[in-house]
Amino acid sequence: MDYNFHWRPVFKALPDLLQAALLTLEVAAISMILGVLIGLGLSLIRIHMKGPVMWLASIWVELARNTPALLQLFFFGFGLGAFGIHFSPYLIVLMGLTFNNAGYLAENFRGGFGAVPDTQIRAARSLGMTAFQTYTRIVIPQVLRIVYYPMTNQMVWAVLMSSLGMLVGFRELSGETQFFASRTFRIFEYFAVTAVIYYIIVKIILGASRLLAMRLFRY
């Protein structure tokens, strides 16, 4: 083996890589927040509504779960681009991830809603709570606990999936790494370091989620 490892350029680029890692985390986190809200909406539509609105929600969930995430990203980039609708790489990745997150989370939420017994709703309504109060005070808090760990998984998945962003020109952690690697041809070194950064990010997310769970769910 006659390959000589050169780590110095990687370490010189480390501040830039960490900056890009923050961008990765940012886009993943925002896509998660939006994904939770939209996913909640999609699941409620699929549970309670009939007709065209329900079909649209179902199509969303089906496409998000059953097509490659990369193609979903390409749709918001090149697909809409073909119709003259252009977004910045940041927005393309944000929309792609949000689309995907919402679809997966919608199914998790649907299972969660199914797991809260109807009798809980009856009890709340019998106390004079409105349907809205019943959902926000009784049902959703219980659903959130049921879907908490699937949600954590989705957050991890969003961080890792955001690396696809480099294929639509987004300079998040992978895109930035690719940029430096192609300038110096130290491809292995750069991506090795980047893999470690991804690993650490995911471990931090999992640790934080476990701590949060201990605070949130005392019952």
Partner: protein, 240 residues
């Protein structure tokens, strides 16, 4: 006063209540007995509007429960309901379980709501469990929690839907004692029950349901000692 006139209720093709006429006076304790599927529980669900009715009228303090312009959430505050499966809210502490609806439905301040909740919990003997979660409580304690939760709305009426049926035998007594306490305090109660001793000892009148109608309704000593209806005689011979 609760007034029920010509109440009909069906689930799809299945006619469950076939013309119920019933008045419950303030301060009265009415027990409702009868075989499973005779429509006893459905009656309670119709009274507080958890089930729609097909025909007839139910008036609670003169308010038509199923009227088009009736605010059901307001009516329900006046009708405390206790379920067979106690349905405590698992994500809230015992105190929060009881304080929640006074705060968000009756719009009391947080402090007032907690005060009301604590008072009701002491009333049912759960004063030492305030910060526990329901999962740490026995079935009997959870059912008493459910009673306190309903009482915190300060209803004029309490509806009990087989409140002791899901409990282990040794826990039935504490819940019946709590119900008896309420009865003695003058609460107007409708109790669907399989506890004949409770129906006999505590209630002012007992109604026997058979296939969707009130087959016989009289004070307990008369109803149990000299049942007139053939169906009631058969029913009593089985439960004794």
């Amino acid at each position: 006063m609760i007034e029920i006139r010509d109440l009909h209720k069906s689930f799809g093709d299945l006619l469950v209540l076939k013309g119920i006429d019933l008045d419950v006076e303030n301060g009265e304790v009415l027990s409702v007995i009868g075989a499973s599927g005779s429509g006893k529980s459905t009656l309670l669900y119709c009274i507080n509007g958890l089930e729609k009715i097909q025909q007839g009228k139910i008036l609670v303090d003169g308010i038509d429960v199923h009227g088009k312009d009736t605010n059901l959430n307001e009516v329900r505050q006046n009708l405390g309901m206790v379920f067979q499966q106690w349905n405590s809210f698992p994500h809230l502490t015992v105190l929060e379980n009881v304080a929640l609806s006074p705060r968000i439905v009756r719009k009391f301040s947080r402090e007032q709501a907690l005060e009301i909740a604590e008072k009701q919990l002491r009333h049912v003997g759960l004063g030492d469990k305030l910060s526990n979660y329901p999962s740490a409580l026995s079935g009997g304690q959870q059912q008493r929690l459910a009673i306190a939760r309903a009482l915190a709305m300060e209803p004029n009426y309490m509806l009990f839907d087989e409140a002791t049926s899901a409990l282990d035998p040794e826990l039935v007594g504490e819940v019946l004692d709590t119900m008896q306490l309420l009865a003695e305090e003058g609460m107007t109660m409708i109790c669907v029950t399989h506890e004949m001793s409770f129906a006999r000892g505590v209630s002012d009148r007992v109604a026997f349901f058979h296939q969707g109608v009130i087959d016989e309704i009289r004070p307990p000593e008369e109803l149990f000692e000299s049942p007139e209806s053939v169906h009631l005689q058969k029913f009593l011979s089985k439960v004794k």
